[in-house]
Amino acid sequence: MKPELDEDALIGALSTGEVEPEGLVAGPAPALATLPPPRGFELTPKSPAASAADGEVLEVAMGPHHPSTHGVFRMDVVLDGERVLRLKPVFGYLHRNHEKIAERTTYLASMPYTDRLDYFCSLTNNWAYALAVERLAGIGVPERAEYLRVITAELTRLLNHSCLIGFLLHDMGTMGTPLMYAFREREKILDLFEALTGARMMCNYMRFGGCRVDAPAGWLDQVRQVVDDFPRFLEEFENLITTNEILLARSQGVGVLPAALAISASVTGPMLRASGVDYDLRKVDGYGFYPRFEFRVPLGDHGDVYDRYMVRVLEMRESLHILHQALRDIPDGPVLDPKAKLRNFRPKPGEAYGRLEAPKGELGFYLISDGGPNPYRYRVRPPSLINLTILEDMCRGHTVADAVVILGSVDIVLGEVDR
């Protein structure tokens, strides 16, 4: 029988150089090179910074039930005191087989499941999936439906960014005050979604070739009201925190993501733009009616947590600008293409990739049809999963408390990370 190794004791001993296998293991000492690395960590440090550890390193599993991880997500961190030497994100606790379920059911039946990906932004998820299927089947979308999509998507962006900033500040220790202010505004937008789609979060609103129902009478006026009131909240929010010295100290220069690294890790969304890369699919792809609207793309300079916060605040202002234009220009007419079929929908064999700028980044749906009633292949490109993969590069060398803030600034929803 092989002698059992006390790995935790061993890694501490290894890092201090006081390897005494005889004291740790029963029986003859195995050669060090043959020892399995503990929990997937290699024993040689990755960077010179990590080798500078003096004293014992400590391996801690933050999560899956840690309150700062925004859900069931685990970070295996190796700590030297408070400093993060290594960090390994562990996903998959919320995996529910979304893609395989979608390959089994009809095209329409996966629409409500897309709501559950990023449950803060169900309307952009709907739109991305509808976009992919419309490209696959070559369905057009009526003008009013396109405007409704833009309006709902921008409202979703307002909702997501305001909540995210609330969560981020909550991670910094604001004890929920900005979060509650953000949730107060979110409530108004959710009321709008309920009046339009019937549900507050799981909207299931888009259909292939348009939207499910037209806006009820007076709904657009309610949107106008909310949009007109929103700048007041933004002013309040900015007064509350943008120049707050504690926020500046906690976020400036923390978690810097260089533009080159962000591009090579295919990071998208506000995180990429905070690193100073001008890449917004609303401008680059021009899907929907976005080329008709005038808006600017805010960019950051440093790529730190503060820039990510600021880019989101500025994006909310641009979203309000788009909403004003969309509410001014929205025409009357049908909201669903008359050729669109609900049942017995069988697109011709082919493949399509539909992507859009979701609040968290590039959300894409890749579909292959073999002419049957269900997709042959269905794949989601989730922005928050891919943005999360470079967490270690941003966290290394910072303290544990900073790692929490950096994770908050990535903007993840575990429903989408694990799918």
Partner: protein, 196 residues
């Protein structure tokens, strides 16, 4: 760079303004004391499906013909239907069993959209906590059957449209059937005064 602490004080002032405003400013008085007070129901709101019946007989008046389209299209497969047959085994266009497991249902409304007979609609009842988690949340046909009046009360605009459409279809079918020997007409969609 401004004086250290000014940003903090600005934030404190904003918090104080919110705190004081929460006593008198309607835009900050957002809390609703739920069991005593309730928000006004939204007309489009949806929660779980119910079956519509016309007239007074909750069994014979059901619009459902047990075509099983909703059972097939339901994404989480929470509907179970058995077609009623007479003694000779002839299908009766009526569900013998119609169960919806609302612990599985995800309120997506796809059953409502695909139903060609406007027989299934969305309820807005949300206070559904039960002592029995499995049996209590498995709704059988008698629990699901609700009168058309109920539908009118929940979604007046939509129900009026549906009634008008059904009446038009009936008139068309009657006109078409007149030259030949007319089959016994289906019970007409009742004309129900919209609820106040």
């Amino acid at each position: 760079m401004s004086l250290l602490g000014v940003g903090l004080l600005k934030g404190m002032v904003e918090t104080a303004r919110n705190f004081v405003g929460s006593y008198h400013d309607p835009s900050r008085l957002t809390t609703v004391q739920y069991p005593e007070e309730r928000l006004a129901p939204k007309e489009n709101a949806r929660n779980f499906p119910f079956l519509v019946y016309d007239g007074a007989d909750s069994e014979r008046g059901l619009r459902c013909v047990a075509c099983k389209i909703c059972e097939k299209e339901c994404p989480p497969q929470c509907i179970y239907i058995v077609l009623e047959r007479d003694a000779k085994g002839k299908p009766q266009k009526h569900p013998k069993v119609f169960d919806i497991d609302i612990s599985v249902c995800m309120s997506c409304q796809i059953c409502v959209e695909v139903c060609p007979f406007d027989a299934i609609k969305m309820d807005t009842e949300f206070e559904l906590s039960r002592a029995d988690r499995f049996g209590g949340l498995l709704l059988r046909k008698p629990d699901l059957a609700k009168p058309n009046v109920h539908y009118h009360r929940l979604h007046p605009t939509e129900a009026a449209e549906v009634d008008a459409r059904l009446a038009a279809e009936q008139a068309k079918a009657a006109a078409k059937a007149k030259p030949a020997s007319p089959p016994p007409p289906k019970p007409a969609a009742p004309t129900i005064a919209p609820a106040a």
